[in-house]
Amino acid sequence: MDTPIGAYTPPGLALSPPLDVPFQTAARLAVLDSLLAPFRALGQYAILIGRAFASVDEFRMYWKNLFIQMVRIGIDSVPIVALAAAFSGAVLTVQTAYQLETPFIPKTIIGSIVAPSIMLELGVVVAGFILAGRVGARIAAELGTMRVSEQIDALEVMGLNSIGFLILPRVLAGVVMFPMLYVVSCIVGIGTGILTGEVGGFLSASEFLEGARQFFQLLDPFIGFIKSIAFGFIVTSIACYKGYYTGGGAVGVGDSTTQAAVLSCVFILVADLLVAMLLL
């Protein structure tokens, strides 16, 4: 059964058994269907994202949409990412200072631990989780609502490539803006780390910076940067996939939104490990 772009086919029906098969056969088919469902979803996801990037030649039609999405995904997320990074940096400084509270270890070590931890892991993962909730849920709900209210069908009927128009700008905006949010996250996280050390009396700003400089490696922010690009792609593409293939009205939109946020978080963790294993 060939389904044109933009058409919605209810998921999970491909292997639904006909009514006249025996119960045991039907049960086996149902089990097989549920086992194959993740692979079918993966294939559907790959085709959707492939079609989105295949429509790049029409991008002159959609570039305005890219800037709108860059603002919504990137600029609008700055406050929440900065807030999360600020608390992460502060907590990390306090807890590191607590764990290293011995006269045998110089205080500068706190800076040597906090700064690379934020650049390598905490800054990007915290930003990724926050954005999985904020950006991922928003995209899935937006596209899901457009699907169930036939707005995506309306785009297709006008002759527009709905995948190119809706998905490509969002994914590109995610890939472009997540690294910028990562930079914001690192600056704010390290900044609040310094401030917390100073205000809390754990170490001075100069001690913190000296420690950070001592063990600084260019590879740390580079890996964080690569992770942020990967997370940007993961969050936006999964949310677009879940939203675009939403079915079943308000409940379907709710399911898609939840699944987009949860799956994004899971795949952020997987990608975090893969990048670390490949580049470290």
Binding site: T3, P10, L13, V157, M158, L160
Partner: protein, 258 residues
């Protein structure tokens, strides 16, 4: 001309259409009627190529939608204007922007010309002063009329109406019916109206197609819809006669209690 040839469609084990064939003649108004869930909207989605049939073909101006490439399909779809059941207006845009949307992407009109065209479309649906309002600020009937203005903005050859009067009060329904007739007359478009509102059918249609249990059971002129031999259509029409206002079937009003 739209030709539907032997199309069948299932979703899993749920058969929705079975061997349906239908012609929509140029400049005419065809109403596709049937009970809820009889496959009317699915048939409409096949006509604009939003769904592909399991078997069968749909020809628009002698071009097969089912075998067309996606690029060709997109070109063919530009011949259609579709009024979706809920309007399907883009809720992030104003009414003006909704109507201007296809013009901005698919016409070479300047901004000033687009503004004039949008205003003309709004005038045509008698909503001259709602351009700045968003869909959430409009009533159900107004939303449908703005959606209709968007559907005609690209001057399509075919307009498809999916339940144009559902959820509307009788007066607004009459306004929509009048608009369908007016657009067919003034723009000389071919119209397909998906509905279960017999009043609307009698007001707008030249011909009627009756879908029942996945099959197309009856096709004929609207004048014969009351005198046909099909028992299912007779039952469907009889069930609607109270709404139509046939004095012989309309129950008398009960006497007010003293």
């Amino acid at each position: 001309m739209i030709e539907v040839r032997n199309i069948s469609k299932s979703f899993g084990d749920l058969q929705v259409l079975s061997d349906v064939s239908l012609d929509v003649r140029e400049g005419k108004k065809l109403a596709i009627i049937g009970r809820s869930g009889s496959g009317k909207s699915v048939l409409m989605k096949h006509i604009v190529g939003l769904l592909k049939p399991d078997t069968g073909h749909v020809y628009v101006d002698d071009q097969d939608l089912c075998c067309a490439s996606y690029e060709r399909l997109r070109e063919l779809r530009k011949r259609f204007g579709v009024l979706f059941q809920g309007g399907a207006l883009f809720d992030s845009m104003s009414s003006f922007e909704n109507i201007a949307f296809p013009l901005r992407y698919f016409s070479s009109l300047s901004d000033a010309e687009i503004e004039t065209r949008v205003q003309d479309c709004l005038d045509l649906v008698n909503l001259s002063d709602v351009g700045a309002k968003t869909p959430s600020e409009l009533s159900g009937g107004m939303r449908k009329r703005v959606a209709l203005a968007r559907a005609i903005s690209m001057e399509p050859a075919y307009i498809l109406y999916d339940e144009p009067t559902s959820g509307l009060d009788p007066e607004t329904s009459n306004t929509i019916n009048d608009l369908i007739n007016q657009l067919a007359r003034e723009l000389n478009v071919t119209s397909v109206v998906i509905t279960h509102d017999m009043h609307s059918v009698l007001e707008v249609a030249d011909r009627v197609a009756f879908l029942y249990n996945q099959d197309l059971e009856w096709v004929g002129p609207v004048a014969e819809v009351h005198d046909c031999a099909n028992p299912n259509l007779n039952s469907f029409v009889r069930a609607s006669e109270y709404k139509i206002g046939d004095p012989s079937t309309t129950p008398p009003l009960s006497e007010p209690s003293p």
